[in-house]
Amino acid sequence: MSRVRLLHVDDDSDILELVTYSIRLDPLFEVRCAASGAAALACLGAFTPDVILLDVMMPSMDGRQTLEAIRQLPEHVATPVIFLTARAFREDNARLIALGAKGVITKPFDPMTLARDIRKILAD
């Protein structure tokens, strides 16, 4: 088991807290939070994550736009991005994968297995 640095981007502070708590059940995870796409981009200067967990529906800059902006950064062209979405349709998931995401996790997720699920997607 390796250390994983994760950046979680979500506009819902409760979800941020819940995800942070859940993921830290795996002590090898290091979690940083960002409450918007802009905050995430700002954070990426100081923090180099191994994976970005990205909410889709956010005000002003949504998950898709954030992903696009992240891909503009030379050092994050290939950083794995996993979408965390409240949209449950398979078609939506397929579209998100097509945008260049590594995986999709839908809300509500299982807090007890979240870290494991992320590791599994990264291993694929």
Binding site: I15, R90, A98, G103, T113, D117, D124
Partner: protein
């Protein structure tokens, strides 16, 4: 003789002449009789049941007398002309009041009026106030000829009348038809839907004003042009289909009612319509009647409704995620030890979170089905492993209610071309229903056989059966046998409606058999093969396929929730 008298009366009535006004032809004939036979009185007398009635008469002021006193009543009893030279010398007439009193008849000669069937319905007779012995064969010949002329006139008269009556009836019915067609025309011109009449050649024979307006044409410019100009592609298909496979005789409606397609206006813009086609075969003109409705507005409203439902549902998921996640963490014990009593309350909260999520998922599914947006991502699916997996998934819930799930031995080579996740959803629904409605300690049997359409999967419980009054509504949305069930059994009332749509989208069928007190079997059939028969393949979508493997690796909760709706209960 009675029978022939009634026949005679019937023959008389057939001429429809009794009590009709004088007519020139008969007046002329009696006048001719008085002149040629040099008699002061001549009468065309028709012998009715109780009277004799005069159609024409010269020399008498009456138009009828009682039959008892009528000389003519005697004349019609014989075929030959009755000649009474001197009534005072004749035993039959000596005491007749017409002889003893006014008009004091002495001489009578009457020729029977004979119908072609031989019925004697009256006479042409001449009468004199003095006895005559000069009425020879020549006179008899004349009166017979005149009687024949009377009959000819009567026959011609009735034929003419009947012909005129028929003509007037025809005119009346033509007028009625014209009025009706005017009325129909008005109805068609007034309806807000577009009405197009299309000939066998696919060209427009007629349109109503609503149709012209809808498509942006005016002044009859559409007539004679090809109908596919208005409804491109689809109409050609529809038209070809109807010509290739005309509906059976007596079928009232032909085209599928309410098909939604795109139509084109005169300016080239497209708009959504709903249309239905019916073939005219009974009328003189054969062709097709197409009713067209502009559904632009409805589509906008539908889309708004759809978006609203979708947004609300998704917005609900975020707070639910927090609630469910938090409760999940507490229940797992990672946040600390939970007192036993709190634990039970947390279970209730957790179960109801799951229930809310199921309802949201079901509503989203229903919304997709209504919008025709449910994609079927087909792949080869081994039914045997699908059954095993669904039973494994359903076991936790079955154990809770002390129900045993039993899978009959199945052929491990049973393969269908279908959407694995959707089939799992259907099976999970049928199994959880069967478990719900089983008696504690009961069994639910899952089996796989061959059916009419392909493979047949059955799920049988031995519960109370579906109440007779509920059977018609089993597949209706939000259907629950009784309201109190929702609480007890925890369903959404949408599952079977969704399951039916999923199976039908696969070209299959979902049905059930039930018996009060004995249980219920739900079964679905699904075409086998790899879709090269055009059945399952027809629903294969063009866009990306996300296989169950991908979903599993992501460990996405909702589909698992849907596939295993029972585990968390």
């Amino acid at each position: 003789m009675q029978a022939s008298e009634s026949e005679r009366l019937l023959a008389l009535r057939n001429y429809e002449i009794l009590d009709t006004p004088p007519e020139a032809v008969f007046d002329d004939l009696v006048r001719a009789a008085t002149r040629t036979l040099r008699a002061p009185i001549a009468v065309i007398s028709l012998v009715d049941e109780q009277r004799q009635w005069f159609k024409a008469c010269v020399g008498l002021d009456v138009c009828e007398t009682s039959r008892e006193v009528a000389f003519c009543d005697h004349a019609i009893r014989q075929d030959a002309v009755l000649v009474v030279p001197d009534a005072e010398q004749d035993d039959r007439f000596r005491d007749n009041p017409l002889v003893t009193g006014a008009p004091a008849i002495r001489f009578y000669a009457g020729a029977p009026l004979k119908t072609p069937d031989g019925a004697r319905i009256g006479t042409l007779c001449v009468i004199d106030f003095q006895a005559r012995h000069d009425f020879d064969d020549h006179c008899v010949g004349i009166i017979e000829a005149l009687a024949k002329a009377v009959m000819s006139a009567m026959t011609m008269r009735i034929e003419l009348r009947r012909q005129r009556l028929a003509e007037s009836r025809l005119i009346a019915s033509e007028e009625a038809a014209r009025l009706l067609s005017d009325e129909l025309r008005q109805v068609i011109d007034t309806v807000v839907d577009g009405v197009l009449i299309i000939g066998e050649d696919g060209r427009i024979a007629a349109v109503n004003p609503a149709c012209e307006k809808m498509f942006g044409y005016s002044g009859g410019t559409l007539k004679g042009r090809s109908a596919s100009m208005l409804i491109p592609v689809t109409f050609e298909h529809e038209f070809a289909r109807m010509q290739l496979a005309p509906p059976p005789p007596g079928a009232e409606k032909d085209g599928p009612a309410g098909r939604e397609v795109m139509a084109r206006r005169s300016d080239g813009t497209e708009f959504p319509i709903e249309f239905s086609v019916g073939a005219m075969r009974k009328s003189a003109v054969s062709g097709y009647v197409t009713v067209v409705r502009d559904i632009t507005e409805r589509k906008v409203i539908d889309r708004m409704k759809s978006e609203l439902i979708s947004t609300i549902s998704h917005e609900l998921r975020t707070p639910l995620t927090s609630i469910k996640g938090s409760i999940g963490l507490i229940r797992s014990g990672v946040t600390g030890i939970i007192p036993t009593e709190s634990s039970r309350m947390l279970d209730i909260a957790h179960n109801n979170c799951n229930r809310l999520i199921r309802i949201i998922n079901d509503i989203l599914d229903i919304e997709k089905i209504s919008a025709g947006m449910m994609a079927i991502n087909s792949e080869s699916v081994n039914l045997a492993s699908l059954l095993t997996e669904s039973v494994t998934d359903g076991k936790a819930y079955a154990d809770q209610l002390n129900i045993t799930l039993v899978v009959a031995e199945v052929d491990s080579r049973s393969v269908v071309y279908a959407d694995r996740d959707r089939l799992m959803q259907v099976l999970a629904n049928l199994i959880s229903n069967a478990v719900k409605f089983s008696n504690p300690g009961g069994r639910v049997e899952i089996s796989l056989d061959r059916g009419d359409l392909g493979y047949r999967v059955s799920v049988t419980d031995h519960g109370p059966g579906i109440p007779a009054e509920f059977r018609d509504r089993v597949f209706s949305r939000f259907a629950q046998a009784d309201a109190s069930d929702t609480r007890r059994k925890g369903g959404t009332g949408l599952g079977l409606s969704i399951a039916k749509s999923i199976i039908e989208q696969h070209g299959g069928a979902l049905g059930f058999e039930t018996e009060a007190g004995r249980g219920t079997t739900f079964h679905f059939e699904i075409p086998d093969g790899r879709g090269d028969d055009g059945s399952a393949a027809a629903v294969r979508p063009a866009h990306a396929v996300m296989s169950r493997r991908t979903l599993k690796s992501a460990n996405i909760t909702p589909p698992v929730d849907r596939a295993q709706p029972v585990r968390s209960l």
